[in-house]
């Protein structure tokens, strides 16, 4: 799955400016997560048209990165997340960050994992009988 990261200054209106820009260009956001520090935030989004979103953001002067992350469909029951994390950790794969989003289908949810090695993570998940969404 393609994720777009955007560097935003910690000031009033900067998140609004990014989301407005995407909206004006007909980009639909499926998921969003923000890492914040005292100085800045990193906005991470899953969009319906990632390449287009990346292009528009870059053209508008944003520091933007598009990268592959690992998506995992997650069941709505106790222990689901632990199972995934354990599968990754057993293979020595570190998780930089993770966040969740729900799909349009009722009851369906996904986790996004940013790991240091996507290939290894996918293999680890398969080994544990968990399918990755690419």
């Amino acid at each position: 799955m393609k994720q777009i990261s955007i560097f935003i200054e910690n000031e009033k209106g900067s998140l609004a400016a990014v989301t407005t820009l995407l909206a004006e260009n007909g980009i639909d956001l499926r998921a969003l997560s923000i890492a914040d520090t005292t100085d800045y935030g990193i906005l991470r989004i899953m969009a319906d048209k990632p390449e287009k979103a990346h292009k528009i953001l870059t053209e508008n002067g944003y520091l933007t990165k598009i990268n592959e992350v690992v998506g995992v469909k997650i069941a709505d029951k106790a222990g689901s997340l632990a199972k995934i994390i354990n599968a990754l950790s057993d293979e020595g794969i570190g998780v930089e960050y993770t966040y969740a989003f729900t799909s349009a289908k009722p009851g369906e949810a996904f986790m996004v994992f940013r790991v240091n090695d996507n290939e290894k993570a996918i293999a680890a998940l398969e080994k544990a009988g968990i399918g990755a969404v690419i």
Partner: protein, 435 residues
């Protein structure tokens, strides 16, 4: 009662001092002309010969030496004696990353230490005192200079260097330090730490402090004096002329007496180079009258000052300079360290960053804060905070290597560094440095 280290010089009749300066200058110009080809060329270009200089009244005929000359002549170009005669170097930062290296013969070290000894005695120091030197040691002149001066006076010297403040206070208490030498901001910090430790000035024996290497205000003086229970004295100097002790404050605390037997001071118009009459504000220029190894003639300090020879209640006849009121170049003094914005630019370019940066300075609790904002490129941006933090740390470390002090780094988005009329505002200095 006012004390003097060398009363015969410090309180000499002005005419005697001037005659001494004239004789030393004539000799020094000849020494430099004969042994420093770099300066000889400058003199030849101006059409001045050593015999044209008969007294300090002729000094205007001589060419200036600037920081740029020190860079061009680095490292040995201004050396006036064989290297084998030198016993020490000290160093300070230069304009574009190249450091200034000053050389000393034993005679030069002795005269420098004597100057510092005069400052210590003017602050009330005697051989019965315990002098805690909390300036940095090493290439920086602060520690070595005051250390040497303290030895000359015969004080028990505590060569603490700066940092480790609780240990400073512990030594201060255990060994009964009576004199503290450091930067004024460090003195203020020691005062605050003392309070944080639940102690008061009554718990220490300090009576005086000799503080320099950075600008400070009267308000800061009052704060330090109250927090440490001392009288605080200013001291001035620069590596190019020797180090601290070029001038020092007496009990009157209304300016610093210049050690005129070693340094001839002029005030010039920084734009035209013209010598200004006594009492006018301008750039301070020093000529080393009797240093052997690194004798700079008419060195432009870039400090803006006023000189005056009004009678001083301390009895000294040495001319006084005001606290520097500003700079005629873009040099910043941050936590006692000289920093040129161009040095920061050099490091950024070396590290693959754009030269779009901004320096922000403030003084919080009498300590300088030093923040550097730099724009990141698309390639440098990463989606993880960890990577960005690592890049900031790497840059801070590269800047520390260049400058000797640690900035707080902030990577920012492109085009966020304010640009005014096409030219970026490089420095925002919110500190109140001058009265």
């Amino acid at each position: 009662m006012e004390r003097y280290y060398q009363k015969e010089i410090e309180c000499a009749p002005v005419e005697e001092l001037k005659a001494m300066q004239n004789a030393k200058l004539v000799k020094q110009v000849k020494h430099v002309y004969e042994h420093v080809p770099y300066y000889r060329d400058l003199m030849d270009k101006k059409g001045v010969k050593p015999e044209d200089i008969k007294s300090t009244a002729d000094i205007y005929k001589l060419p200036f030496i600037s920081k740029a000359d020190l860079r061009d002549a680095y490292p040995y170009g201004l050396l006036a004696v064989p290297l084998s005669e030198c016993v020490r170097i000290q160093s300070t930062s230069g304009t574009t990353g190249r450091r200034v290296v000053a050389f000393y013969t034993q005679h030069d070290i002795d005269l420098w230490e004597e100057c510092c000894a005069r400052a210590i005695v003017a602050a009330g120091g005697t051989k019965d005192d315990v002098c805690q030197v909390a300036y940095g040691y090493g290439l920086f002149t602060g520690g070595p200079g005051l250390n040497g001066g303290s030895h000359k006076v015969g004080c028990l010297t505590l060569p603490m260097s700066s940092g480790n403040t609780e240990r400073q206070i512990q030594f201060m208490r255990d060994l009964g330090s009576t004199i503290l030498c450091c930067t004024p901001s460090y003195a203020a910090y020691i005062g605050e730490t003392l309070k944080d430790m639940g102690l008061t000035p009554n718990d220490i024996k300090l009576k005086a402090g000799i503080f320099g290497a950075e600008p400070w205000t009267e308000a800061m003086r009052k704060d330090i004096e109250a927090s440490l229970g001392i009288k605080a004295y200013d001291i001035y100097g620069l590596t190019e002329t020797s180090g601290p002790g070029v001038s020092f404050e007496c009990s009157e605390q209304t300016g610093m007496h210049i050690n005129e037997d070693h340094f001839y001071a002029e005030i010039i118009d920084p734009d035209t180079g013209e010598v200004l009459p006594e009492g006018e504000k301008g750039e301070l220029v020093f000529t080393s009258l009797d240093k052997e190894a690194f004798p700079l003639l008419r060195y432009r300090t870039r400090d803006i000052c006023v000189l005056n020879r009004k009678k001083c209640s301390c009895g000294r006849t040495l001319i006084k300079m005001s606290k520097p009121m500003g700079r005629s170049d873009d040099m910043l003094i941050i936590r006692g360290v000289n920093v040129f914005p161009s040095q920061i630019e050099t490091v950024l370019l070396e590290q693959g960053y754009t030269p779009n940066y901004r320096i922000e300075l403030d003084r919080v609790n009498n300590t300088d804060t030093f923040d550097v904002y730099v724009e990141m490129s698309q390639e440098q941006f990463s989606d993880t905070v960890k990577d960005i933090t690592l890049k900031e740390k790497e840059l801070a470390s590269a800047l520390k290597t260049m400058l000797g002090i640690n900035p707080k780094m902030h990577l920012v988005a492109p085009k966020t560094i304010t640009r005014s009329e096409g030219k970026a505002v490089r420095v925002i200095d919110r500190r109140k440095l001058h009265d």
